[in-house]
């Protein structure tokens, strides 16, 4: 009988790592607390930089789970060390004794309402990147009378000490540009603004997307962090920023504002970290042994990481890290046990 490995978190990292482990001859036990596998990806409509549909990535992965025991709507109740194994008890009453656990708990979308000055949850025309993907995916647009001027606010809950998230969330810049182009397709006559601090177009074809957004879509880029959003008496928004390249305050009346909520550490990271006695960084993400050399290994024997659980990552980075984690676990399990 093949050896079990517990994988906690059924997003892209967890699914991909489970498939890899299975291919290496193990039986992964994949645990997901929500009713569906796929994590944030399951909610997303299209992916940067080329705009392919998210389901074309996720569906084949979810269709290929033979040999993987997976449990949705299931949480970890406890994890205990027993000699050189981990005993994992689940909320469904099952338990497993394994030598290796992989944490693929991903990230939480930053709660945009915490940036009180942007008025998410107070002003109806303020939505988030995730709301916009829901809209794109379901086709059920919010009912606003006219959508002529649209803004995207980068760095919402990223690079922000007051919001408790100092890190750059990495994917929001390019997501904003992608969504700005998409919304321009839906409303060709609309004027679309992106408010950014730095445009971090670090990946292959990202800069091309930015160029296309400028030239083909006429997206207007304003270098300035949005300072305040308010509402007039017919529900339209006033957005204030400094146009820093111009050196003057800027106030634009808008019909829709999209907040690029960043990646915050998953809320249950601390609890899981306590169960297996590992550290989270002061940013709340798990600390691997080395961010460069061994991003998938923890300071504790038999505990591994993959994906955004150790910090903001793109989807391809997450998938390749899942593969690396599977190899690291394989190597660990093949190393003879110390007596």
């Amino acid at each position: 009988m093949s050896q079990n490995v517990v994988v906690i978190g059924g997003g892209p990292a967890g699914i991909e790592a489970s498939r890899r482990l299975r291919d290496l001859g193990y039986t992964p036990i994949l645990i997901e607390k929500t009713p569906v596998l796929g994590g944030h990806l399951a909610r997303w409509d299209r992916l940067f930089p080329e705009g392919i549909e998210a389901r074309t990535v996720l569906d084949p992965m979810v269709a290929d789970l033979d040999g993987i025991k997976y449990f949705t709507e299931t949480e970890v109740s406890s994890i205990n060390r027993l000699k050189d194994t981990w005993v994992v008890k689940l909320s469904n009453g099952l338990s497993a004794q394994v030598r290796a656990i992989l944490l693929t708990t991903g990230f939480d979308l930053f709660k945009a309402e915490k940036k009180e000055e942007y008025g998410y949850g107070i002003y109806e025309r303020v939505i988030t990147n995730a709301d916009l993907e829901d809209w794109f995916k379901s086709g059920a647009a919010p009912q606003f009378d006219a959508v002529n001027v649209i803004g995207f606010v980068h760095c919402v809950g990223s690079r922000d000490e007051k919001a408790g998230n100092r890190q750059c969330s990495k994917v929001c810049c390019v997501t904003a540009v992608k969504q700005a182009c998409e919304i321009k397709e839906k409303f060709p006559d609309a004027t679309v603004y992106c408010f950014y601090m730095d445009l971090r177009m670090f990946g292959r074809k990202y800069e091309d997307l930015y160029l296309k957004a400028q030239k083909d879509y006429g997206i207007r880029f304003v270098r300035g962090r949005v300072s305040e959003v308010s509402e007039d008496n017919d529900g339209h928004l006033f957005v204030k920023a400094e146009d820093t390249l111009f050196g003057k305050p800027l106030k634009i009346k808008m019909d829709l504002l999209v907040l690029m909520a960043g990646m915050a550490p998953a809320a249950d990271n601390h609890q899981l970290a306590r169960m297996v006695n590992i550290q989270t960084g002061e940013d709340g993400f798990y600390l691997p042994q080395s961010i460069i050399g061994s991003p998938c290994t923890s300071s504790r024997e038999g505990i591994f990481f993959a994906g955004a659980a150790t910090g903001p990552k793109t989807l391809p980075e997450t998938l390749s890290e899942a593969a690396s984690a599977a190899l690291a676990i394989d190597r660990y399990l093949k190393t003879p046990q110390k007596k």
């Binding site: 030239k215 111009f246 800027l250 009346k253």
Partner: protein, 112 residues
């Protein structure tokens, strides 16, 4: 009316309530590359006229986009069309041609 010795002052805020900017749209039709500017400042750094005057092509492009052409168009009169900015633009904008197009769209000849 009473003179109090002080009074209301105009705001410096760029207020964009009506976003229509037909002049810039015309420029974009004629010179699509203008939209590619990333405000990196390479043009300003290499500008022959910029050494002696406040000429900054980056600022001109930005002010046209914001509909505040009055604030920067006079700068362009310092341009000697030497073309050094064309060599350094990382987005490959034909800046020399762009400057000439700005002159046409914004009718600068008449002012000269």
């Amino acid at each position: 009316m009473i003179d109090f010795g002080y009074g209301l002052t105009p705001s410096s805020t760029l207020k964009i309530e009506n976003v229509a900017n037909p002049a810039f749209e015309e420029l974009r039709q004629r010179e699509p590359d203008v939209a590619k500017c990333i405000a990196c400042g390479s043009c300003t750094a290499s500008c022959s006229a910029g050494v002696f005057t406040e000429m900054s092509l980056r600022r001109v492009i930005l002010s046209l986009q914001r509909g505040r052409e009055k604030e920067t168009l006079p700068m362009l009169q310092h341009c000697m069309l030497c073309g050094k900015c064309l060599l350094v633009c990382p987005r490959g904008i034909n800046t020399r041609h762009l400057i000439l197009s700005i002159g046409k769209v914004y009718k600068m000849e008449e002012d000269r």
